[in-house]
């Protein structure tokens, strides 16, 4: 149990990663797929942020009385990754709107049926 708790953030990362991928693969609804994609991307944010935390360290702002700081790099990287993620989901949702206009449905199997005709 202690082993589990010590690496809790990594277990959460793995859970979100697999959960997100499963939703993408298993769901036929195009919006649900995007939700899965978003969860999958979120797991990566945790993966990057976890090793950046230095135990006992404070926020990386130089101030008297503090010697140990956390690593600021992952926060900068993940800020960029979040922006990329937002752009991807926004574009994905816009495409789903257009697909709904063109096909009248956003279910994967129904769209495929219509395309086969």
């Amino acid at each position: 149990m202690t082993v589990f708790l010590a690496d809790l953030n990594y277990w959460v990362t793995i859970f979100l990663m697999i959960g997100g991928l499963y939703i993408i693969a298993a769901h036929g609804n195009m919006i649900k797929k995007l939700v899965g994609l978003s969860i999958f991307q979120t797991s990566v944010y945790l993966l990057f942020l976890s090793p950046g935390k230095v135990l006992g360290g404070t926020a990386p702002i130089i101030a008297p009385g503090f010697e140990v700081y956390s690593n600021p790099l992952p926060h900068v990287l993940i800020l960029t990754a979040i922006v990329v993620g937002v752009a991807t989901i926004a574009l994905g949702l816009a495409l789903v709107v257009r697909i709904h206009e063109a096909y009248g449905t956003i279910e994967d199997d129904e769209v495929q049926e219509m395309e086969a005709d």
Binding site: M17, L21, I24, M30, K33, L34, L37, F40, Q41, V44, L47, F48, P51, L73, L77, T80, A81, V84, A87, T88, L91, G92, L95, V96, R98, I99, A102, Y103, V111, E115
Partner: protein
């Protein structure tokens, strides 16, 4: 002064030109900006090539922040070759873009289209030139997001679902890549690739690094459309506008192949380490399946654009086959075919765009008899098709020659036989088009057909001429590829 900043200009020029197109909102001005930006980017690539030839590896500190802390742009023999392919193919395609785009879209949409095109170009050039692993991910997403938009602008409603599918699979691929990069960073504390290349080889047997290797292999394979991760490609290329099909078929998968070589040869430590992993064996098997399965599926396609999209999957198989051999000749074959295939496929998709422009369809049955109505367009498709087969006198022959040479070097006669049979299947689907276009009576649609406009034919014929030229004079293409292959095997960066 200007020469010192060439690595930055290579990416900054198209990046700044993209919002300019969006601001003007005029089709013609947008096109003009795109042409100028793309040609300047091509000039920057040529300038970089001369600098690399004279000075060796160029290291450029972005914004004056010294690497490895700051972002470094690093140009060597390998990526300058890819930069030339990407910006060069773009420089030929963009004059072609005007006629078809102006006929289909209103002013605003044209401007947006050129904006997306320039962003895709920026992203692909950025992935290739940067020496920072996280920077790769950011540029990869810039180019991918722009490509999804371009694909969704196709005239068929299936373009929308193709773009959606590509978005899902492309994002999963990019996320896999960033997971791999994250694990490498957690193990070494650096994101600079030259720095990684020094630190990773010592710890490349540890579990997190091997996990990173697996994530990167799957993520990049998705992006380069290695069989069976190619499912996004056929529809995306088939239903995208002609300009997008030609540009993406010529460059996007090629940049992913470069990325693969960069990570697995340079970062993880040369050919020796790569050969010790199970990846070459997997690549060998999957490449052979790709060559046969994708070519066979191509034979039975009714839509010619879709046929050549499947052919792209098969041709990527030839490139990955070269990579899987982990030898000088194999890597040379891969690099040469990367170059030759970019030219041939971009040319074919441009000429199919011309057929679409006049005929309004690229269905095989509709193309009956158009050989007499559009003689130059069809002749171009036939020459480029011969190149894909690997006929002597075309650049495709040079690629096949080197790949057969690489197989012979290892005494793998069975592989030589397989390569030749796969080329024969290519001949079947190219032959089908020739048969329909030249030996059948024109369909009702084709009777009143005219030859494609010169604005479309001339750029396409530049690529047709290049296919023949690089089939006869191999000094330049093979010479550069050989130097790149030697650098890859040694793992120098």
């Amino acid at each position: 002064m200007l020469a010192a900043h060439l690595p930055a200009l290579q990416v900054v020029i198209p990046l700044l030109a993209a919002p300019l197109c969006a601001l003007f909102r005029r089709g013609f001005i947008g096109w003009l900006i795109a042409v100028v930006a793309n040609w300047l980017a091509f000039a920057a690539s040529i300038g970089l090539l001369f600098r690399v030839m004279n000075e060796g590896v160029i290291s450029y500190a972005m914004g004056g922040w010294a690497p490895p802390i700051g972002i470094e742009y690093r140009v060597d023999m390998i990526n300058v070759f890819v930069l030339l392919v990407v910006s060069g193919v773009g420089a030929v395609i963009i004059p072609f873009a005007r006629t078809g785009t102006a006929a289909r879209f209103n002013d605003t949409d044209q401007a947006w289209f050129y904006t997306m095109y320039l962003l895709a170009l920026t992203g692909l050039l950025g992935v290739t030139i940067t020496g920072d692993a996280f920077n790769i991910f950011v540029f990869l997403e810039i180019s991918s997001l722009a490509s999804y938009v371009m694909i969704a602008m196709g005239r068929d409603r299936r373009a929308l679902t193709a773009a959606y599918q590509y978005l899902i699979m492309g994002t999963v691929g990019a996320t896999f890549i960033v997971i791999g990069i994250g694990l490498l960073w957690a193990m070494t504390g650096t994101l600079n690739m030259a720095d990684l290349a020094q630190r990773i080889p010592e710890i490349n047997h540890t579990r997190p690094v091997l996990a990173a290797l697996a994530f990167l292999a799957v993520g990049i394979s998705l992006k380069l459309a290695l069989f069976p991760l190619h499912l996004w490609l056929p529809n995306a290329y088939a239903y995208a506008p002609a300009v997008a099909s030609a540009f993406l078929a010529g460059t996007a998968t090629k940049v992913a192949i470069y990325l693969f070589l960069r990570f697995f040869y340079t970062v993880f430590g040369g050919g020796e380490f790569f050969a010790s992993t199970p990846i070459p064996a997997m690549f060998l098997a999957l490449s052979i399946v790709a060559m046969f399965a994708a070519s066979t599926v191509a034979v039975f396609q009714a839509d010619v654009k879709r046929m050549f999209a499947y052919s792209s999957v098969a041709q990527v198989g030839f490139i990955t086959l070269g990579i899987s051999m982990v030898s000088d000749a194999g890597l040379t074959a891969a690099m040469v075919h990367l170059f030759n295939h970019a030219i041939m496929k971009a040319g074919i998709f441009m000429l199919l765009g011309a057929v679409m422009f006049r005929l309004g369809s690229v269905k095989l049955e509709d193309m009956a008899g158009i050989g007499r109505k559009m003689p130059f367009t069809m002749a171009g498709i036939v020459i480029l098709g011969l190149g894909l087969i690997g006929t002597p006198g075309t650049s495709g022959f040079v690629s096949k020659w080197w790949i057969v040479l690489a197989a012979l070097e290892k005494d793998q006669w069975w592989l030589v036989a397989l390569i030749l049979v796969a080329s024969l299947i290519t001949m079947i689907y190219v032959g089908r088009i020739v048969e329909v276009a030249y030996f059948r009576e024109p369909s009702a649609k084709a009777v009143t057909l005219r030859e494609a406009p010169l604005m479309m034919l001339i750029p396409a014929y530049v690529l047709v001429a290049a296919t023949i030229y690089f089939g006869l004079d191999t000094e330049w293409s093979v010479g550069l590829a050989q130097r790149a292959a030697a650098a890859l095997l040694a793992g120098t960066y």
